[in-house]
Symmetry: C2
Subunit: 408 residues, 2 copies
């Protein structure tokens, strides 16, 4: 059942206008007016299909297509509409719009499945304005406490609760639903965000699991001093201490096999004056590995490094996110493989280097992901690009899998 490839492409372009950066990318941070506008655009499309929408207390959005047995547990598909500050048009958006395309093509063909299908838009997958990453699915799965998530503050001090209230007020047609509604199964389509499919010349990736991810915030506290008068030995220079910590962390995570992923994505020195020794530095650590024992060992090493290298300053290590390596349900992965072959694509098994909302869903119900290639493996970058054919191919496989699950 081929999707409408032109419509699917067009909708990505249309959605990308909301928060367009002017350099081909998108900045649509979670729970901003742009995020709200993106959801309103999606709702304008789904309401034309007669679908109803509900939002849970963390703002996860559920758009429901009723089945022949309304009481049966629904099959879920979806992803997220929020982006990185210099993000692309496809990361997350594809999973939402591919799901919509499936629902719309079912409607056009008069297909009514036994189970309802719900299109999910998770809140704040990217974790930029408000941490942690995958906040909405984390709260849904009970891995992040709702009150902690709502209390998260952006750099200007606004809370996620305030930002969410503004979004709820701006989407009056959406009803509220309680947290933690159950699903029969979950399938998420996504761009690979890595180079493997492209290099192998394959169109469909059957994702076997997701590597583990831990995020930390480090706060180094020292003492402000005059840059001209204060000798190094009398300084408590928070920047210098943070630099020593980072140097030791680089040695700690060194891995010739390049399996370990270590990123410092945010780093600021305060008060940020050229002629004042910084009294405070804040930075984030993003650490990933497929092996849980390695993650545990490195986590311990990070804590020890902060303690050891900080003096005469102090370093405070705050865990932001702990997401263990996940293996998807084997039967679900096999469904993806089989569906891909049915519509003419030889699938490639892949482990996801990026994390996804599917990670939390895997603990709740049978879960799978479908990957399509992205150009050069580039993502979290305004240059993110895909082939229109690949968008349609992934949606076609998704339609197969969803229909099968929804008939169970």
């Amino acid at each position: 059942m081929a999707p409408n490839a032109a419509r699917l492409w067009y909708r990505h372009e249309h959605m990308a206008r909301i928060g367009a950066t002017g350099r081909g990318g998108v900045c649509r941070l979670a729970l901003t007016p742009e995020d709200t506008a993106g959801r309103a655009l999606l709702l304008s499309w789904t309401s034309r299909l007669g679908l109803t929408a509900e939002m849970d207390p963390i703002g996860n959005l559920f758009i429901r297509r009723e089945g022949r047995e309304p009481g049966a547990l629904p099959v879920w598909t979806g992803s997220h509409l929020d982006t990185q500050p210099t993000g692309g048009k496809y990361d997350g958006i594809y999973g939402v719009l591919a799901g919509l395309e499936v629902l719309e093509s079912f409607a056009e063909r008069g297909i009514v499945t036994r189970r309802p299908i719900e299109l999910v838009v998770w809140t704040d997958e990217e974790g930029v304005r408000f941490q942690p990453t995958t906040m909405g699915s984390g709260v849904h799965a009970g891995a992040v406490r709702l009150e902690d998530a709502l209390a998260a503050r952006d750099p200007d001090g606004a809370t996620a609760a305030e930002a969410l209230a503004a979004q709820v007020a701006a989407l009056p047609g959406v009803r509220s639903r309680p947290l933690g509604a159950p699903a029969h199964a979950y399938v998420e389509a996504h761009i690979e965000q890595g180079p493997v499919l492209e290099a192998a010349g394959r169109t469909i990736g059957a994702v076997t699991g997701i590597q583990g991810l831990r995020q930390f915030a480090v706060t180094v506290a020292g003492e402000e001093a005059h840059a001209g008068t204060t000798p190094a030995s009398r300084r408590k220079d928070a920047f210098a201490a943070a630099h020593r910590i980072v140097a030791a962390l680089h040695r700690l995570v060194e891995d010739p096999s390049e399996t370990t992923r270590f990123t410092i994505g945010r780093f600021t020195a305060a008060p940020g004056s050229p002629n004042t020794v910084p009294g405070r530095v804040e930075f984030t650590i993003d650490l990933r590995h497929p092996d849980l024992a390695t993650l545990d060992r490195l986590t311990e090493g990070i804590a020890e490094t902060c303690r050891r290298m900080a003096p005469p300053c102090t370093a405070d290590l705050l865990p932001l996110l702990d997401s263990s390596p996940v293996a998807f349900d084997r039967a679900m992965v096999e469904r993806v493989r089989a569906a891909a072959r049915r519509v003419g694509y030889e699938p490639l098994d892949l482990l996801s280097g990026a994390t996804h909302d599917a990670k939390f869903m895997a603990a709740l119900c049978p879960t799978a992901m479908i990957f399509i290639p992205c150009r050069g493996g580039i993502s979290h970058n305004e240059a993110e690009a895909v082939e229109p054919d690949h968008l349609a191919a992934g949606a076609e496989v998704l339609a197969e899998v969803l229909r099968e699950l929804a008939e169970e």
Copy 2:
């Protein structure tokens, strides 16, 4: 001629309420509404003395007490009212309020000097909102081009020209004067911002000169990438490149004698998302040394280090400020020593580790500085503190020197 110590103390406390941080410090960045309010408070005091005020095209403020011979070149004294983001009550403010105290005590005693005396408030000494440091005196002396200074942008993109226009509009009683008015001599009182006077148990420092200062902005450009999917060898990680550059710079400036001062005061990684490899890092370098040849050698080393350590990223090095070591006029230094002894203080000769507006004035006319101690040598810190007696002592020495110069 003893100043009114209580009035001088009170005025520091009064001025410190404008931009008070709530932790005993002050945030009154140049060309902000707080800066304007600080100048308005000063003008409320000087207008009660019948003094007139003028501002030059970069916003340097001149408050004039007429002399017996209005045509004679005026003697200048002053400093700045702007502060660091987490600054204190005395850095800069003292030089302005000590000057005002001298003018007021002259008025109370009916003293009219031969030459006019002008109290100068330099614009943007701290160089926080707008770079470079000592912008106003730099423009006055022709070391910074007026158009470059006015085109400086704050982190939100506003120009110094816009911010200055708002200040000019808010101070309607101040007339404009052209740039570069000449002075007979310049004397600036200031807190030491270092520990030497306190450690030696002296009250008055006769400043023999100012060490050299160079500031640079480094921009490291790489490529944004996904933190989970991109192996280190495929990254152009601007943070990692900046870290390598800083590590090499630390080795370059290593100096067991601790004469070299090296500070990275501002450092930000963009886009600032925990799960995106930074595509851009900006940081500042503040480098100081009393010896010009050493400054030249280190400057060359900084440029070479940026070139060598940046790949696969690029690093762009922009000089923000170049201020050579300055030796003050010997006769002026001797005047300060003699005046201190006349009023009962044995002075200590000092080289200033901090830079000051006096640095640019030294090229234009005979210039001197008078230092008083600050507690623990702590400055550029909300904890900045002085003894009330020391404020008065410095003002007393300043009065002696100004009266002598203004009678020449």
